[in-house]
Every structure is written in C-alpha cells, then in structure tokens.
Symmetry: C2
Subunit: 520 residues, 2 copies
C-alpha cells in the first residue's frame, strides 16, 4: 500500500513535473525572445552626458550628470560613431522603417498640421516636394511615405508593443499620426507634435495661447495634470505600468520610450536644477542640464524596474538620440554652434554636431559589459538589427530596407568595416537664419572620410574624421581624388534612391549633383 | 465812413485781443502748475542701469543699457542716496500717502486675495497683525490703512490723473485695489496683482494654470492680446494716449506710470535680448537686462512725447524704483545676493541692496541739468514733495504725513542734512529660505551711520556708509555709543508710530526693542 501510494505519488509527480517542464519550456520559448527597449531622446547632443563618447572626457562630460547612462555604458557597449539625421522626423521614420531619409523622402520635420511644408523660404532654391505629412502605414495618403512599421512586425511576431512619449511620425489627420496605427498596442502621450508645450504637470504639459490650449499640449496625461510630475517622469511611470501586462503574461515586449526631453522649451526641472546653478552654469544651460538629468533618471527607473522584475537578463536596452544637440542661441545659453564641441555645429547641420549621437546598447549574454564599438552605424540600422535580435527573418515589408543589422557589432565590438557608405540628405531649409550647413546639404561617410555638399554654393568639403573630428580642416583642394571618389558614390546612391533635388529659383535648373561639381 | 469803420474795427480788435489775453492768461494759470510724471519701476536695483549711482562706474553699469535714463540724468538731478522699502506694497502705500511703513502698517507685500497674510511661517516668532489688505481710501475696511491718496488731492486741485501699469495698493475686493478709487481719472492695467503672469502680448499677458487664466494675468489690455506688443510698451502707449486729453485741454496732468517691469517672470524681450546674449551674459541675466532696456525705452518714449508736444519744459519727470533688485537664484542667474554689488543683499533685505534706489528728477527751470544730490531721501517724501511742486499747501489728509519735501534739494542739490533719521521696518517673513536680513529686521539711518536690527537674533549691527557702502564692516562692538544712540532714536520712532512688533513663539514675549538690546 505504501509502495502503491508511492508509485501513485511518483506518477503524479512525474505528471506534475511534465506539466511544469512544459510550462517552463513554454515560458522559455517566449523568454528566448528578448524584450526590446528603445530609449530615444530628443535633441540630445553627443556631449550632453557624463559618459565620454570621444577619446577623452570633455568639459561637457564633466558638466552633465547622467549616472544611469554611465551604468548602461558599464553594462553594455558604447557606440562612438553612431548617427542619426540632422532633424527629428527623418530619424524617427528611418527607425520605424529601416529606410534612409533620402529614400523615404521625409527629409525634414513634419508639422502637426497636415499638408504644411515646414521649410523656410529660401531666396536661392525652391522647396522640394518632400513627404511633408510623414510616415503612413497605409498606401496612397498624400505626401507620406508608406511602409511596414517595425512595431507592426514585432506585434505580428508575438510582441506586446508600447509607445510612450513623443511619436511625431506624421501630421494630424493622417494615419501615421497615431502610434496605434503603426503597430503599437498601447500609446501613451504620442501624437503628431514634435515637442511639448511644457514639461510641467502643474501646467498640464500645456502653455495656452490666447486662452486656448497650445497646439503642442501633450495629450493623454490628464492623470498628472495639476501635479508636480515632470513630463519625463509621467511617460516613464505610464510606460512601466503598460509593460506590467506582458511581463506578468510572460510575453515579450517592445517598449519604445521616446522622450520629449531634451527638446525646448527648457522647463526647469526643480529636482535637478540646483546642482547646475551651484556649479555656476548659465541659467539656461542649467535648465538644459537638469532636463538631461531628468531624462537620465527615467533611464535609471527603467533599469531598476527590469532588475526588480528580474527580466534585465532578457531585455535589450538601446539608448539613442534623434539628432544633434540644439546649438542655437538664445534657445540655448552662450554662443551658437558651441554646444557640441569638439563637434562642429549642431541640430540641423550635416556636420558631426548635427548627426552624431550618444548610443548605448545593453544585452546581457550577448554584449560584453563595458565594451566600446567604433564602427559607424546609422539610425536605419535599428530596424534590421531589432528584427535580427528577435529572430525575424525575411520580414515582409512594403519598403526595401536600407539599414544594416549591427548584431555582428554587438557580438564583437571590435568589428570593422571601412567600406560602407552612409548618406545624409537634407534638401530643406530648417530656420530663417543661416548656419553651418544647416540648410540644403548632403553628406557622405566612408571609413574616416566625410564629404559635405552645400547645394546653394555648389561646394564640396572633405574631412578626415580620424584626425579632425571637429571638421576644421577642409581637405577638398589637397585631395581632389578622394572628393571625386566620394562625390561619385554619394551621387550614385542619391540617384539610386531617386532622392529629391532642388532647383535654382533664378534659372529653374536643378542644383548640380555632387559628382558634377567634383569633376570641375 | 472809412474812419468810422476803422474805429469799429479797432474796438473789435481790442475786444478780440482782450478775449485772447484772458484766454492766454487762463491757460498760463493752468500751465504754471507743472505736469507731474512719476515713473516707477518694479524690483529694479540701484546698479541695474548704465547711469552710475556710485562714485564710479561699475561692471553692472557697463552691462546695462539705459540711454534714456542717461538722458534724464543729463537733464536733471541724480539722487545717489534715495531709498524705498525692502518690498513693494509698503513702498507704493508710502508713495500714495506720505506715511512710513512702520506707521501705515502695510509692512509687506499684499496678496491679490483678500485677508491673506503673505508672511511665511517662521519657527521663532509669530506673524504680526499688519495691514494685509493694503491701502484703503475709505475708513473701516478690515486690515487696511486708511488715508487720503496723493492722486485724490491732485485731482481736487485741477489735475487730470492717470494710472498706468502696476497698482498693487490693496487686495481684490477692497476699495484700494482699484486705482479709480484712489483718485485716478483713468486706470490702465492696474489691479491688486503685484507682477504680471507674462509680459508677452502673444500670451495675452497671461500664463494660464490648469486651463484657467493665471491670477496674475494683466487686466485691461485686450487690444494688445495676440500681438507682439511687450507689456512695458503697451502700458506706455496707453498712458500717452490717456494724457492726450489733458494736454489738448491745457490742463495739468499727473501720470503715474508704474511699470510691471522688471519684476519676474523674466519674459524675453526680443527687441533687446541679443545685445546681452552677444555680450556673453548668462541667459537669465540677458533676459533681465533686456527687460530693463525695454523699460528704459518706455522712458525714452515718454520723454519724446513731452518734446513732441512741447510740454517738456513744464513737466516734472521723477524716476524711481520700489525696492532693491531681486537677488535670489535661480530666479536671477548666477549667485544669490550678488546682483546689487557693491551693495549688500537685495530685495527683501534692510541692507542697502534691498532699499537703495536709482532716482532721477528732471524739472526744467528748477533742477540744474546734470546735477547730483547726495542727501538721503525716502519714498514717503514723494507725497509732500509733489504737493509742494504743484503749490498745494496744507492739504487735508486723514493721515499725518511722515515724509519731508525734497523741493529744497531739487533747487539746491548740494543741500545737506545729516540730522534726519530714516526708518525701515519689516516685521515679516518674505520667503521660505533665509537670507541676509530679509526677514524680521528694522534699520535706521542718520548721517552716514546705519543701524540694523535683527529681531530673532536680537542683534544690532552698525555701519558707516561713507566708508563702507557694502556694509561689510560691522562697527557695533567698536562703537557701542553710536549703537546706543541710534537704537534709542529708532526705538523712539517705532514706539511713536506704535509700530507692529513680533513676539517669540516659545515665550509669548515680545522681541526686545533695539534700545533694550543696545543697553546690554
């Protein structure tokens, strides 16, 4: 009887174990797909952090306090040559689609208002017919780029997809303006706007004009209206709430936590301001640094959440910014075009200050902690990389993907490829004032070489970034062969993508292609 | 017939001439009364101008651009020892009534909300029962000081009286809150508020909270809503429009042009900002300097108006500020308590930085152009001086006047009286933080000597302003006789006025009087 009972028990145990194993196995199957977090910051420059991305710590690195980025760098890989587009919507559409801006034709920031070209009038060239309404998940929406969006593919592959923060994929009234239309299960605070009216909960994240809500009032955070909750905090709290569901369901999630920070307006974040004022910083710069630290606090909260839920080991955290740091004055304190030093220029420009980004990736078990990758990568690479990470092969997409997976770099940070060519294409006028190649310019990087093309002056510049990260020494006259070589490659790629090309107002003739200028 | 006609004509001409003469004579009678303009600035410090008020130009004088104040100084007299109270409503009520703050008991700034004590809670002493609702033109209004207001007397004496800008005489719901109740024929933009929600016309001079207008939205300027007109400009344009009537009627006018500038919020004045940013100023300080220059532009517009109307010769222009420059950080850029150097401290304090003001008076024919008066004067002196200027003797007033006419100084800038005693009395807690004698303090000046009394520490300090304008060298221990002498004078005056006196929370006993401390 005892033996019989024992035998029955053991059968029950075996069944139980089998069930348990099956469950575990089922969980493992889910968990083998890593959770993916893209932590995207707005307008954050390459130097706006205490993590040194150059070959030595700079005064800016000493100014900023981003302890959680430091942690992420310690636990992951730091990309020292990561790039985005010079302004924000092009970057976001590239991330969403894997397509280069020259190719998707959302070459400039989109207005929340439909059919509104945000180009400033230029006296020399006519505005091009770019996709002024941004990205569209459905075909035949005027002035949009139609594609299959990354979250849509992830969702189809079992991911729970959460958008929190700034979307800015398309103009109001087009399908792309709503993150729920581009494959997100949840949307928190995302819409067609590109910056918040205010970061202050007390102000309802609004700044009314003539008694009416500001067009850029942040939607969907009514819970926090009238409270002290800073915007960066509100979208973080809500994002972490939203992933409670997939975490408890043991389902993989994709969290796109796209901060409104650190875009203007520089609402003072009282939690962090004093440190910078006491350091004697210009008061606008102090507000900016506090905004950066508030964003970093959000990163810390995310990392802590992953620890607390014991899912950090199976979660990829990718930190990125969408364009170079704003360097206009008075929007920022001090002198214009000095805020990204040693890099030249800032947001809007195809010089390094406008496009080089602080990028970090943590993926326990895959990425070696504390490693550094010097290989250049670009924003459209995120799309194929993430699909690669989650094991989606040959995803069906409307668009042809231009990006390249950087999974090999994650596995081996020493990976080097100096033959790849990167393209920046900005046939647009960003602001009324002139600035260092912030309007109507393209650029091309191959290896350490970088070519800049200024359309209106039909001028080519050549820099060697290895020796001259500040793009101070134009080598175009001393190395015409390299200019010719790169101009040909840039021209070929732009033509292959049928990139938009402006015409001169005076003659009606198109601006010459880079290779035509190089030949002369 | 020809002779007869000629005779008739000459009689007609004589009659016409007589009428003309009578009219002219009548106009002369009016015009012999000078127009009076009091140009009062809010929170402007003694050094916030390119006019040097010290014995040499300072770095601050070089920082600020106030060309119209420079003009006023060239054409009038500069008072180098002019004083107001450490915060704003006390100053305004003293100006309105000729009474010292210790006496009118509006010792602190009044809330727009009725019956609300703006004192911060202090752990050591209880709040005193000061007149928290401000000034009242009628008796028996709770917590107000009842008096006969300067514009009321001027109006009774044939003046057309115009208020434009910040009133802040009393709380909403009390008669004193409306300038029309205190003797002004016209009120532009004045109410119970002490600062504007915004200086921006685009923002309707508002900054809504939770979708509702800000309590401090500036009233009465709807014409300028949605326009680029900066607040300092709007109240100037409207003020000059308002005096068109008395000017064309050849009636004397009293214009009280009380700027909201340069009180926070530091709304950037785009007309003037760039100069200061380009000079490398901290960006908050650049906004402040631009706000100062916008106010100075208003002064220029007023002076130009007087020239254009050819009434400058018969118009007195008095320039004054209502307390020392704000020197809190982060409200201002840089380190707290450095914004009024060489003066110590700033707004709120009974040190010189909190009470010494940039004062200028132009009165062609009376005041020698470009003269300097070193005799100390105080805000309650404006009342008897203005009545003196317009020839009103023995005006019937409810209140006993404490101020002294400074007309003798205007006639002779070398005038000296070192025997007069000035009193500052601030039995209040201004802000949550501590600062250099910004709470619960009184002060007394006689000649070059100044006594400071800190109630909570029962501590007396003694300074000689001739040698030590920065109040850096406390002479209390080295000169106890002088301390005793001044403490007795201060105590006597405070008792004569029955000034409010706090009690210690721990014991319920009153803070000792200065003379009791000096005796020990």
């Amino acid at each position: 009887m005892l033996i019989r009972f024992a035998r029955q028990l053991s059968i029950a145990m075996i069944i139980a174990l089998l069930f348990t194993r099956f469950n575990v196995s089922s969980q493992s199957a889910s968990q083998s797909k890593p959770n993916i977090i893209v932590f995207l910051v707005d307008d954050m420059g390459w130097q706006d952090t205490s993590v040194p991305f150059w070959n030595k710590p700079t005064d800016f690195n000493r100014r900023f306090h981003t302890p959680n980025m430091e942690r992420l760098a310690r636990e992951g890989v730091k990309f020292t040559n990561a790039y985005a587009m010079p302004v924000c919507t092009p970057t976001r559409v590239s991330l969403l689609t894997g397509v280069n801006a020259a190719h998707h034709r959302v070459t400039h920031w989109t207005s929340p208002d439909k059919n509104k070209n945000t180009d400033h009038e230029d006296p020399t060239v006519k505005a091009v017919d770019w996709n002024i309404n941004g990205f569209s998940p459905v075909p035949r929406v005027e002035h949009t780029f139609h594609g299959t969006a990354l979250p849509e593919i992830l969702k189809q592959n079992g991911y729970y997809t959460v958008h929190s923060g700034k979307a800015h994929f398309g103009s109001t009234g087009t399908p792309g303006s709503d993150p729920l239309n581009v494959g997100f299960d949840v949307n928190i605070a995302g819409s067609s706007i590109g910056h918040p009216a205010s970061y202050s909960g007390k102000a309802n994240y609004d700044s009314p004009v003539n008694g009416k809500p500001h067009r850029n009032a942040v939607p969907g955070l009514e819970t926090y209206h009238g409270t002290e909750t800073f915007l960066s905090d509100a979208i973080t709290i809500e994002a972490l709430k939203a992933i409670e569901k997939p975490v408890s369901d043991k389902k993989p999630f994709f969290l796109y936590l796209a901060h409104y920070a650190v875009h203007v307006p520089l609402t003072a974040d009282p939690r962090f301001l004093n440190r910078y004022l006491q350091a004697g910083l210009d008061s606008t710069e102090a507000k900016y640094a506090a905004l950066v630290e508030g964003m970093d606090q959000s990163l810390g909260d995310v990392l802590k959440y992953l620890d607390d839920k014991k899912i950090a080991d199976n979660t990829v955290v990718m930190f990125m910014s969408d364009n170079g740091g704003l360097s206009l004055s008075p929007a920022r304190g001090g002198q214009a075009w000095t805020h990204n030093l040693p890099l030249k220029a800032g947001k809007g420009s195809v010089y390094e200050g406008g496009i080089r980004e602080p990028m970090l990736v943590k993926w326990p078990g895959i990425v070696k902690a504390g490693s550094v990758a010097d290989q250049y990568v670009i924003i459209e690479d995120f799309f194929p990389t993430i699909l690669d990470m989650v094991g989606v092969k040959n995803a069906k997409t409307v668009q042809k993907i231009d990006g390249k997976t950087f999974l090999p770099i994650l596995r081996n940070p020493a990976f080097k490829d100096g033959t790849r060519g990167l393209v920046w294409h900005h046939p647009n006028r960003w602001i009324a004032a002139e600035g260092p190649n912030i309007h109507y310019a393209s650029a091309f990087r191959q290896g350490d070489w970088k070519l800049i093309y200024n359309y209106r002056q039909a001028k080519l510049e050549l820099y060697n970034l290895r020796d001259d990260i500040g793009e101070a020494h134009d080598l175009a006259t001393s190395n015409p062969a390299k200019v010719k070589e790169l101009a040909a490659l840039l021209t070929k790629q732009l033509k292959a993508w049928n990139a938009q090309w402006p015409v001169f107002k005076a003659t009606g003739k198109p601006v010459p292609f880079p290779d035509e200028v190089a030949i002369k």
